[in-house]
Amino acid sequence: MNFIDLETHLKSIRKSGRPILVPYITGGITNDWMHLVEELAHLGADAIEIGIPFSDPMIDGPVIQEASNLALQRGATTESILLELAQLNLEIPLVAMTYYNLVLRADPTRFANWCHEGGVSGTIIPDLPPEEMRPLETALDKESIVNVLLIAPSTTDERLKFIAGKSKGFLYTIGVMGTTGERTDLAESATILAKRAKQVTDLPVLVGIGISNEIQAQEVTKVADGVVIGSAFMRRILEDQSGKSALKFFSSLRSAL
């Protein structure tokens, strides 16, 4: 599939004045998960985050944990997911999200190769701090793939500048101190952090973790450039494996943004 530059693509959407909407799907979650990825693209996703399941996902709440276990039981591996993606031909960038042990086990160079094969434009490795990312970054650089870094409400001002300076593609803003999962109310911390981030970077600022519905997405994108929707989408896939209700939910999010 075509290689798409993540940062250029997201910035062009921002320039058009539309909030960026990025759904997350666990790779290998159902037999036809690739079909769901295609549908998301048709329904207006601006990029898609593909989760590669890990047995011990530290920052994930119950929904993504369950999805990860299901995908692993179905035999999903880092290689199988990334190489399946190679069959797609999408006009939007894909971002692979996983934990560092899977990268190390594959070896960063091989992992970067697989990402390249799968047409992935960027990676998100939440347990890999910028201080430790050189081996991965070196391998990704050779394939022109970028590594997206995360900031959290507890990140100090000084560190926020440091991370924003090192992140590429966009800046992933963890909206709430907690694990991935839906919340009844939009945490105030999400908009405060997005505001802080916007002051120090020109990278697109996307808020993830804890964004559960249209109203919250609208609220947070008053400040942030976009949102990542994970658990709210995946819960619906777990409840209805056809993915119909998940896609319907995504459509209404897209209409709201």
Binding site: F54, S55, D56, P57, M58, I59, G61, P62, Q65, N69, L72, T77, T78, Y99, Y100, N101, L102, L104, R105, A106, P126, D127, L128, P129, E131, E132, L149, L150, I151, A152, P153, S154, T155, T156, R159, I163, I174, M177, G178, T179
Partner: protein, 403 residues
């Protein structure tokens, strides 16, 4: 530079350790590191720590010479008796240190993970002593296996939270404790139970546990003499009692031996990876998914190992071996019958290796061997009785051991 010194600026011991946590926990780890550095440089903190370990924790624990076992094996075996510390294991050293530190940092809630329940009981104990709230994360499977310790924790006022994620055992309890810590970090200290996890835990927990090795080293000189033990032996799950023991002998000529459970031998069969915030040697499959560890002792059922042990193995300062379940069961009986000490199954791993190594001649006759007996075996008696044919009567396994 000391062999067991401070980790580097990234929290590494050689290639191992570090701080591989989500950004949400970076500040908490940094804050904890700062708090620990300040406290550990403060004489008043040491005084308070040592005073509580003495008046409440039962320290110093003695060294016991095993006369009958030594005679049988032809090597001189000495035990550092952490089984005599309050709550029945070395775990109390670490929790008193961390609870004091948490208070100093203005955090009045503790969370902890536990496998067999020993660290959970110790954490609940420290919380009761200091008037803190305590929540213990324990795998649902382990809760089923360790009913007595679950009750002890509740009796001590702690809340035991059943972990239903993953395999529902220790590694999942660590995951859930870390997840909980992220959302409660402002008011809560995560009281990690071993020399593992993100920096500064492996270093900090080793420092709190180093009281074992420092005490033992001084006691050894009085009891045996100037020359260090030929062998210093301790069991290794995450590796806190071993790290604390080795810290007292790393600069000496002693051969340091860590004994893992054969079914959880991360240093023998593991591959370098990252889990629970640290780079270390980890039991994992070809895809990088973490394997479950299995052994007779729940306390050693951990798929990783403290990063400093991975480092000590890499530089050949310590040697890591393993003992299997039947060797351990035999050692459990031997120590009970020859020395009148019922060891924890975890600690019996160290004894099992010494018995084997003395018999094969790996340990030369006449050698002086110091083994840290990390805990007492009361908690394991029900399990062992089942394995040996039940409580009633002298089951088939209870005849006098002959070896």
């Amino acid at each position: 530079m000391p062999v067991m010194g401070e980790p580097d600026a990234f929290g590494k011991f050689g290639d191992f350790g570090g701080r591989f946590v989500p950004e949400s926990l970076i500040f908490a780890c940094q804050e904890l590191e700062d708090g620990f550095r300040k406290a550990w440089a403060d004489r008043a903190f040491h005084d308070e720590f040592e005073e509580i370990l003495s008046s409440f924790g039962g320290r110093p624990t003695p060294i016991t010479y095993c006369a009958r076992l030594s005679l049988k094996l032809g090597v001189n075996i000495y035990l550092k008796r952490e089984d005599l510390a309050h709550t029945g294991s070395h775990k109390i050293n670490n929790v008193i240190g961390q609870a004091l530190l948490a208070k100093r940092m203005g955090k009045h809630n503790l969370i902890a993970e536990t496998g067999a329940g020993q660290h959970g009981v110790a954490s609940a104990t420290a919380a009761a002593l200091m008037g803190m709230k305590c929540k213990v994360y324990m795998g649902a499977v382990d809760i089923g296996r360790q009913a007595l310790n679950v009750f002890r924790m509740r009796l001590l006022g702690a809340e035991v939270i059943s972990v239903e994620s993953g395999a529902k055992t220790l590694k999942d309890a660590v995951n859930d404790a870390m997840r909980a810590w992220v959302s409660e970090v402002e008011t809560t200290h995560y009281c990690l139970g071993s020399v593992m996890g993100p920096h500064p835990y492996p270093w900090m927990v080793r420092e709190f546990q180093s009281i074992i090795g420092k005490e033992a080293s001084l006691q050894w000189e009085k009891l045996v003499g100037k020359s260090s033990p030929d062998y210093v032996v301790a069991c290794v799950g995450g590796g806190s009692n071993a790290a604390g023991t080795f810290a007292g002998f790393a600069e000496a000529t002693s051969t340091l031996i860590g004994v893992e459970a054969a079914g959880g031998a991360a240093l023998s069969f593991g591959i370098k990876g990252v889990v629970h915030g640290m780079a270390s040697s980890i039991l994992q499959d070809e895809y990088g998914q973490i394997n479950e560890a299995h052994s007779i002792s729940a306390g050693l059922d951990y798929p990783g190992v403290g990063p400093e042990h991975a480092y000590l193995a890499q530089i050949n300062r310590a040697k890591y071996v393993s003992a299997n379940d039947s060797e351990v069961l035999m050692a459990f009986k031997i120590l009970s019958q020859l020395e009148g000490i019922i060891p924890a199954l975890e600690s019996a791993h160290g004894i099992a290796w010494v018995i084997n190594a003395a018999k094969t001649g790996e340990i030369e006759p006449g050698s002086n061997v110091l083994v840290t007996l990390s805990g007492r075996g009361d908690k394991d008696v029900a399990q062992v009785s089942e394995l040996l044919g039940g409580f009633s009567g002298a089951g088939p396994g209870l005849e006098e051991v002959d070896f």
